[in-house]
Subunit: 227 residues, 2 copies
């Protein structure tokens, strides 16, 4: 499903070069649940952005469902981002002037889902993460953890094949965190390919396997049970 | 040092009233280290905003160092926010067009600290949280955890009497999280009054005592050791 081969992502500033990713190779099979851990600044978000086709590697190959991403047309890339991949950003990136329901609806509008179908799917997505009571509120009128959950609802509403979640429980208490993890488990059991960046060992433990990044490289791999 | 008496903070939207804080009374002595926990949406950030003089309660009394905050002049409030209180926001609120060093320098410029003194204090503040290597970079060029640590450096650089930290380790791995907690411990040992909102029991455990919010009320209090 996902094959990364010698991926580099380098930022050049003046004569300073920073290798956010320094030769990452990894394969993720369809339906696998992988956790990515590592120190702050080790390249986890960068890796997720490359996987989500939101950032192009400086070099290396990324094959998604057998096709080299760098060779996809704009239309094909657009379709992949709209329908195949859901993304939960570390800083949410909700649209400030839209309420929670409109934020969750947005991916369906882009993908051409009919209006009659959208309303119910928004409701169910918000309910699954426990923020239905905030659906008419804009991000500024919500708590940090409520915004995080709206971002998760938005990422899941298109029922993507792959979900990339960048620290999805970072601002959640144990109860709402557990609700989110149970949702992810249900989606995983239904065949979703799930890659979760997390600092929380309790979250990483639920994965099939864990990849540890350090300074842009994969330093270690282990089964989830060994975390 | 801090005396809250029957604090309410109500949001009214149409005929809907939401009591983000519903009668909170609490006293925090100078030098105490208090953790605030509770479900997502329970009022923790709202409480911190009231304590930080960034939000006015709908009703109730807040006495800070013996003075009723509602009766302070604009000049006095300004001085309190600039010199007495440091605030780490749940979503950091760094200035996007300024690099890390300039962001940390900002409170000192507002408070009239001399230029010669500022440079060294910025360097030490960034170093104490392990992000000195990113000092010439803007927030967009940093990882989530690096931004969080710059926000912490900015909040501590004026050596305030009170530090209010809204989930300061939420995006940090165990190593950088530990570095931040050790910094907070050192400041606490030096007499800082410290109030930390956290979802992490490991962070709450380090406090003298813990206050649990639920639906805008204090549901429970316990010593840190009992978390
Ligand atoms: N401007 C606003 N208008 C209406 N409701 C608001 C507004 N700001 C916050 N709220 C609501 O007030 C309640 C308390 O919010 P607060 O941000 O204090 O929660 P919190 O305990 O910090 O949550 P979290 O752990 O998710 O950060 C939430 O239900 C939130 O939706
Ligand atoms: N636009 C940029 N220009 C320069 N350096 C950048 C840029 N974006 C990210 N970086 C750097 O790349 C490195 C990896 O960043 P990344 O966001 O992937 O880390 P991370 O593992 O997600 O960290 P965290 O756990 O703190 O979120 C960091 O050192 C960061 O400062
Ligand atoms: Mg990150
Ligand atoms: Mg909050």
């Amino acid at each position: 499903m996902i094959e990364l081969s010698d991926i580099w992502r380098t930022y050049t500033m003046g004569d300073e070069k920073l290798h956010a990713l320094a030769g990452v190779s990894e394969t993720v099979e369809a339906g696998e649940h992988v956790a990515v851990m590592g120190p702050s600044g080790s390249g986890k978000s960068t890796l997720l952005n490359v996987l989500g086709c939101l950032d192009r590697p400086t070099s290396g190959s990324y094959r998604l469902a057998g096709r080299e991403v760098a060779e996809l047309s704009d239309a094909e890339l657009s379709r992949v981002r709209q329908r195949e991949i859901g993304f939960v950003f570390q800083s949410y990136h909700l649209v400030a002037r839209l309420d929670a329901a409109a934020n969750v609806e947005l991916p369906m509008i882009f993908a051409g889902v009919s209006r009659s179908e959208r309303k119910e799917r928004v409701r169910r997505a918000l309910e699954a993460v426990g923020v239905e009571s905030r659906s008419a509120h804009r991000p500024a009128e919500m708590s940090g953890g409520q915004r995080q959950r709206v971002a998760i609802a938005r990422a899941t509403v298109m029922e993507p094949k792959i979900l990339l979640a960048d620290e999805p429980t970072g601002n959640l208490d144990s109860a709402s965190g557990a609700q989110v993890l149970e949702l992810l488990d249900r989606m995983s059991a239904a065949g979703l390919t799930l890659i979760v960046v997390t600092h929380d060992p309790g979250v990483a433990r639920r994965a099939d396997r864990v990849v540890i990044l350090d300074d842009g490289c994969i330093a270690r791999r282990m089964p989830g049970s060994e975390v």
